[in-house]
């Protein structure tokens, strides 16, 4: 509940409408590109540039306002609630793809193999199909492929992300103890581990495409594998960018033990990405 009457209300915001324009150009351009129009990519690039300028401008503005002490505790709570529920919406987005994986592995693929009341389906449509996982379906969509093992790079990546969670928390302790050196080192290590994760993931993708015959088009296994790990990898990149900005701001001397919402939000986001990976490691790679 509101306890003070100096709530900060910004006026005349120009970044939101600029960002909206950027997004609109980017998506309209992408749609045109998918439809085979040659102008599509140019619009996408332009839209992306506008969007990035918007992000830089808007966050610079917010950081400046925060550092000049314009935000009360109450504003900080609003921001924290905003970040919390944003992460919840992201969890729901990943839940869809986990749900699709669950549904195909436990329901639709066994049904195609004749489980339950679907014996006739199998006999009449695809008598030769055996319901095993991984599969690219009765149509062998995408041709032969190998599935991705869990205990090589993916396991290493698990350790990397878990370690990065620890280093992120270590940096937070440094911030709270006003230990600038620990804060910056901890963040740098976290960003570095994040980039290492992305590099390993990229090499895994490269191997999948060039040596294992495993692509996005490898039936339902390829679809779920690449969509889940791909969206996760994208989120790791975004998280690493956010942490880099926080690192830059820490180096500039921003953040106090009692006022560091940006750091907290970045850390929450990073832990969220971490937890999603644990789910991926178990449900996509191990099981």
């Amino acid at each position: 509940m509101s306890t003070n009457n100096d709530y900060y209300i910004p006026h005349k915001a120009t970044w939101p409408v600029i960002g909206t324009g950027g997004l609109l150009m980017m998506l309209a351009g992408f749609a045109n590109y998918l439809n085979g129009s040659s102008a599509g990519t140019a619009w996408m690039g332009l839209g992306l540039a506008v969007f990035i300028i918007m992000l830089a401008g808007w966050f610079t503005l917010q950081a400046g306002e925060s550092e000049s002490g314009m935000y009360s505790t109450q504003v900080g709570i609003s921001y924290r609630m905003g970040m919390m529920w944003f992460i919840f919406s992201e969890i729901m987005f990943f839940a869809v793809f986990f749900g699709a994986l669950w549904y195909t592995r436990n329901l639709s693929v066994p049904w195609l193999g004749g489980e339950g009341t679907k014996a006739a389906t199998k006999e009449l449509l695809w008598p030769a199909f055996e319901a095993v996982w991984p599969t690219n379906g009765p149509g062998k969509v995408g041709g032969n492929f190998e599935s991705m093992g869990a205990w090589g790079l993916p396991f290493l990546n698990t350790l990397i992300l878990l370690t990065s969670g620890v280093s992120c928390t270590w940096a937070h302790h440094g911030l709270l103890a006003k230990n600038r050196d620990q804060l910056i080192k901890g963040l740098a290590v976290t960003v570095g581990l994040g980039l290492l994760f992305v590099a390993f993931q990229a090499s895994e993708y490269h191997e999948a495409y060039t040596e294992m015959g495993l692509t996005l088009g490898s039936g339902i296994y390829g679809s779920t594998f690449f969509m889940l790990t791909g969206f996760h990898g994208f989120h790791v990149c975004v998280g690493a960018i956010i942490l880099s900005v926080v690192l830059f701001r820490s180096w500039k001397g921003h953040f106090q033990p009692e006022n560091h919402f940006a750091f907290e939000a970045a850390a929450w986001y990073w832990h969220f990405v971490d937890v999603v990976w644990l789910g991926l490691f178990i449900f996509v790679y191990v099981i």
């Binding site: 970044w15 409408v17 709570i77 919406s89 995408g142 088009g217 039936g219 339902i220």
Partner: protein, 535 residues
């Protein structure tokens, strides 16, 4: 960009920007609320025009005006425009205007994001509307966008999908803002269980939105990759399943229809006590019933899919779970009736629309209960019975309550009184024609007329013609509302309205303690007295 610390730097606390730019860069909850409401009203007429095309084509058997492809585009676009362009934005507009004033807050919690929510909505609707002019036409698969049919859409497909993404981001931002506002910005003394019902229903709706919009975004993303990037989510040959899409869609879609009805309940619970001159009957049971309906909405989705070929245990589970919803909904209808019981009622236009809502929504609820019975639904599925059902829960429910809200709060927003005579005329024309329009569709459905078909057997001719006549009258009647809105903004009856507008309204809710129209910034200091008459 400038910024203000309200109260401390009053000389910096300027009003809105000059000229049209004011509306583009505004962060003021009243400005943004107005933008949402006007945009929704415009889309109501765009979507309504599409409905007129549908009813004109169905006026008699045979092909009249449009080809089947365009007819199906019209049913699809009518639904998408009405749901995402009209009803949802109208309620977000009401939330923007009313929630800060009702809880005694100076503005929304995240004003810049509020601006972006609105403009993303416009961008999303622009992308959607652009598909009407594309090679292959607008999407014609129905608003559910089921594969594999929707994958046959022409150039419009990626535009429609990205439109859903933008509308989703817009809704999530709006919902996050509403949650942060309600949890963090209430005036001292405004405890959760003293909040007006409208605020409560929006709080719960906001949680629904954050949970479901990403789900819809995920579903259409899979459509996009299935079409353009060779994935097999909805293709059995690759091990996927088109039914998977239906499960994901309705996991979104069922809570989505409650996104449109819960704020409706909230407005009804706000208006009825004022004109019955009694406190709302069973305030806390209303709160709990709303939460119960929201929870149940997540575990009933497959009742939209009874005929798709689910295991029998699934049919039974979804049947009984769906029936449970009738209990909290019944609590609500009972409470509205009990609120009116022995009240000193008067029947101004907002109250008339609200009473019509209670009666007609209940009818829509009952047909819903009929369809929850899985074996019976095998008969009703995909017929005009379901069309009649959900239009009863949307038009004489959500739309009527939006009209009621307009009449109820227009004097507060503008400081002018609307013309009660024309308001009543609008009501009576609407309430009669809406029943002429939709009631016969029950008969058509029970007799087996399929939905989303531009032509039909001659046995359905009579009721279709009656339904179309009702539709034309209903459509034309809404022009009266447009007239009233413009007329009221421009000065209305000329009568000076008080801050309370309606008798003793200030005892129910804080917005009636403010002048009409309220100043650009309100509650820069929190109010000290919290009204409790509504409880």
């Amino acid at each position: 960009m400038s910024a203000v610390v309200a109260e401390h730097d009053d000389h910096h606390d300027h009003g809105p920007a000059k000229g049209l730019l004011r509306w583009v860069i505004t962060t003021n909850h009243k400005d943004i609320g107005t933008l949402y409401l006007l945009f929704a009203l415009a889309m109501f007429f765009v979507g309504g025009a599409m409905a007129m095309v549908i009813r004109a084509e169905l006026f008699e058997p045979g092909m009249q005006f449009v080809n089947p492809q365009f007819f199906n585009s019209m049913t699809t676009m009518h639904a998408l425009v009405m749901v995402f362009g009209a009803v949802m934005p109208a309620f977000v507009g009401l939330a923007n205007w009313m929630i800060p004033m009702m809880i005694g807050a100076p503005d929304m919690a995240l004003p810049r994001m509020n601006n972006m929510s609105f403009w993303l909505l416009v961008a999303g609707v622009l992308l959607l509307a652009s598909t009407l002019f594309m090679e292959g036409g607008a999407p014609a698969s129905g608003w559910t966008l089921y594969p594999p049919l929707v994958l046959q859409t022409g150039k419009a497909l990626p535009f429609a999908i990205f439109s859903v993404h933008l509308l989703g981001i817009s809704s999530i931002m709006g919902a996050i803002n509403i949650i942060a506002t309600i949890f963090n910005m209430r005036a001292p003394g405004m405890t959760l269980m003293k909040m007006p019902m409208f605020v409560w229903t929006w709080l719960i709706t906001a949680f629904l939105l954050i949970a479901i919009m990403p789900v819809f975004a995920g579903a259409v993303t899979m459509l996009l990759t299935d079409k353009f990037f060779a994935t097999s989510f909805f293709d059995a040959a690759g091990g996927g399943d088109p039914v998977l899409y239906q499960h994901i869609f309705w996991f979104f879609g069922h809570p989505e229809v409650y996104v449109m009805i819960l704020p409706t309940f909230g407005v009804a619970s706000t208006i009825i006590p004022v004109f019955a001159r009694k406190p709302l009957f069973g305030y806390s049971s209303m709160v709990h019933a709303t939460a119960a309906i929201a929870f149940l909405s997540f575990i009933v989705w497959a009742h939209h899919m009874f005929t798709v070929g689910m295991p029998i245990a699934g049919e039974l589970y979804f049947m009984y779970a769906t029936m449970l919803i009738a209990i909290p909904t019944g609590v609500k209808v009972f409470n509205w009736t009990a609120t009116m019981w022995k009240g000193s009622m008067t029947f101004e236009t907002p109250m008339l629309f609200s009473i019509a809502f209670v009666v007609l929504f209940t009818m829509g609820g009952f047909t819903g209960l009929m369809m929850s019975v899985a074996p019976a639904d095998f008969q009703y599925h995909d017929t005009y019975f379901i069309v009649a059902h959900f239009h009863y829960t949307l038009v004489p429910a959500s739309i009527f309550i939006l009209m009621a809200a307009g009449y109820f709060w227009l004097p507060k927003w503008t400081g002018h009184m609307y013309d009660e005579r024309i308001g009543k005329l609008h009501f009576w024309l609407s309430v009669i024609s809406v029943n002429v329009l939709f009631f016969p569709q029950h008969f058509l459905g029970l007799a087996g007329m399929p939905r989303r078909i531009p032509d039909y057997a001659v046995q359905f001719a009579d009721w279709n013609m009656i339904s179309s006549i009702g539709g034309f009258i209903f459509g034309a009647s809404q022009l009266l509302f447009l007239y009233i809105v413009i007329h009221t903004i421009k000065g209305g009856t000329g009568e000076k309205v008080t801050s309370e507008v309606w008798e003793d309204a200030a005892k129910h809710s804080l917005e009636w303690t403010l002048p009409s129209p309220p100043p650009y910034h309100t509650f820069t200091t929190p109010p000290t007295v919290i009204p409790t008459e509504h409880i």
